[in-house]
């Protein structure tokens, strides 16, 4: 077995004429938290389904836990925990029954699964809801149940496809906390997201994908360092004037991005830049100095914002 749990070389997936994933290479080591970042339609979910050993590649090599998913699908899936984009829970059954039947799908003994359910209900903070029908749960609870379900077989790799999309901020933070604990316990995580803050919180290393290809790879910090500046100054002059002042602003810093509602200015020192702007006689309606984020990396790499 190679040193990597997952290894892809020239991985390609086509749907008819459309190339969803275009010859990508990546490796995931044991205990690593690996992210796939990109806008909707970038090919993240397709990659996940190939790693999940349910969708077959059209070209390239893919090895998961030392095996080829095309030949050993069920054997590989036995050691994966999958949290799909849509919860796909059994709506007719209760919370604990959902965990139970899922454990059975792995061929786990009834007794083991029953013990495991208690552990997972605590982990997902759903002890009080054990007998509730899934239909009656909130979005955040359903998501936590889906994650708990994926852990019933104590998987080697936990795969999460947009784990917090559609959740409110509080529910997201609870979920991040749970995922962070798993990471601390050494569970290998593979996460797709289009939220930059999520990727920064949870991923040790990530690939930025767009249109089926990898645009960049590295840790969140190194990506920011390589593709952006330390700070970003966001200024608003009003949507009709942003364009007009853009040329003047461009001369004042390393790089700017003109968005419809604001101008982003990339610099090592945001406050100093803002003073420079005032000194030049320009008066932005609002201004904000912040740290550079992965959003800026993505903007730099693709010229587009992640969530439009």
């Amino acid at each position: 077995m190679s040193e990597y749990l997952i290894s892809a070389r020239g991985l390609t997936k086509k749907f008819g004429d459309f190339t969803a994933v275009n010859s990508i290479d990546f490796d995931v080591s044991k205990g690593e938290s690996f992210g796939l970042l990109g806008p909707n339609g970038a090919g993240k979910s397709t990659v996940m389904r190939m790693i999940g050993a349910t969708s077959q590649r059209n070209a390239g090599d893919l090895t998961i836990l030392g095996k080829d998913p095309e030949l050993n699908g069920p054997q590989i899936r036995a050691h994966l925990g999958v949290v799909p984009q849509q919860d796909s829970l059994d709506m007719h059954l209760s919370v604990s029954e959902n965990l139970y039947i899922y454990g059975r799908y792995f061929g786990l003994p009834r007794k083991f699964v029953k013990g495991k359910i208690e552990e997972l209900l605590t982990f997902a903070q759903l002890e009080e809801k054990r007998d509730a029908k899934v239909e009656a749960l909130s979005g955040g609870m359903k998501r936590r149940l889906t994650i708990a379900r994926a852990l019933v077989s104590e998987p080697e790799i936990l795969m999460l496809d947009e784990p917090t999309t559609g959740l409110d901020p509080q529910a997201r933070h609870i979920l991040w906390d749970r995922l962070f604990r798993l990471k601390e316990q050494g569970v290998t995580l593979v996460i797709t997201t289009h939220f930059m803050d999520e990727a920064e919180q949870l991923c040790d290393r990530l690939i930025v994908m767009d249109k089926g290809s990898i645009m960049a790879e590295g840790s969140p910090a190194s990506l920011i360092k390589d593709y952006s500046t330390k700070e970003v100054l966001e200024v608003r002059f009003g949507s009709d004037r942003n364009q007009e002042v853009a040329d003047k602003l461009r001369a004042m810093c390393e790089r700017i991005e003109e968005l419809p509602d604001r101008v982003l200015m990339y610099t090592e020192d945001g406050e100093a830049l803002l003073e420079k702007i005032y000194a030049s006689g320009l008066h932005p309606k609002t201004s904000l100095v912040r740290r550079s984020s992965l959003e800026d990396v993505f903007l730099r790499l693709t010229g587009r914002t992640l969530i439009e």
């Binding site: 349910t54 054997q75 007719h92 039947i101 799908y105 080697e156």
Partner: protein, 279 residues
């Protein structure tokens, strides 16, 4: 609060051979757990249907028919006795279909539960077979209740009558397997339900020799019976419940048609499941 540890241990825990051999049964177990939640409704349908049909058509209309045909009877027996095996087979077909078509559409589309099943070691074929086997459980339950009602109405004349239970379930299985394959291919179920109810189930129910011998139909309509699992099962049921005459050749034909439907339905369904899940 103590924080439970979520260990990583699947490499020690999981016995892949076990899922390989029993995977379909795990799926059935989950399906039956769901069905049990509706057991009251399933029970009500299973009892109300035969009672209503046997009273209205069997006794009501039957009384009229028995009077006009005299002691010769319909196929030599009371109309109620003639009708009952057809209704038994119909109940099995309807019950199996409900438990193959709806869960299949739900699993692929409404809840996507098949996709989460498929992310475990379970294969598409195992999911397909598991759903099918669970449907037979429903068919068995329904047919048993139906049979009890038939007995209470005095519609069973032969000591071999109970054999109509397996033949009815057999017909349900054959049709259910085929419909499961169709449901697995569906993209737009709304249109399908309209077609299924009005143009498939209704004609099959009416033109399969259910209410009168198939031979009383004009020749150009009799083909419906020949392709209908209901007619084949009804003929077998009539033979078993009151000794309706069937030539040995025809007996084999009835079985052969049902077996062909069953086997092709199961193979097609397993293929459709595998294909759709891999998309």
């Amino acid at each position: 609060m103590s924080i439970p540890t979520v260990r990583q241990g699947s490499l020690q825990l999981i016995d892949a051979a076990k899922t390989r051999s029993r995977g379909a049964l795990y799926v059935s177990e989950a399906r039956i757990r769901t069905m049990v939640k509706w057991l009251g409704i399933i029970f009500a349908i299973a009892i109300a249907n035969p009672v209503l049909y046997l009273i209205s058509v069997g006794i009501g209309l039957g009384g009229l028919i028995d009077k006009s045909v005299g002691p010769a009877g319909v196929d030599g027996v009371k109309y109620l006795t003639f009708l009952a095996p057809a209704l038994l087979a119909q109940a099995a077909i309807q019950g199996t279909m409900d438990e193959t078509v709806f869960p299949t559409i739900e699993g692929f589309k409404w809840n996507r539960t098949f996709y989460s099943m498929n992310s475990t070691p379970l294969s598409g074929a195992q999911i397909s077979i598991g759903v099918f086997l669970a449907a037979l459980f429903r068919a068995f339950y329904t047919v048993l209740l139906y049979f009890g009602v038939m007995w209470a109405f005095g519609a069973l004349e032969s000591p071999h009558a109970w054999l109509a239970i397996p033949t009815s379930i057999f017909a349900g299985a054959s049709f259910g397997a085929l419909m499961q394959a169709v449901a697995a291919k569906l993209e737009n179920e709304n249109y399908f339900f309209v077609v299924l109810g009005r143009f498939i189930m209704m004609p099959l129910f009416l033109f399969s020799g259910t209410f009168f011998p198939l031979t009383s139909m004009p020749f150009f309509l009799q083909w419906i019976g020949w392709i209908s699992p209901l007619w084949h099962a009804t003929e077998l049921g009539r033979y078993l419940t009151y000794g309706h005459a069937i030539s040995p050749t025809l007996m084999w034909v009835h079985f052969a048609v049902l077996v062909t439907m069953l086997v092709s339905g199961l193979i097609l369904s397993a293929r459709m499941f595998t294909k759709r899940l891999a998309k």
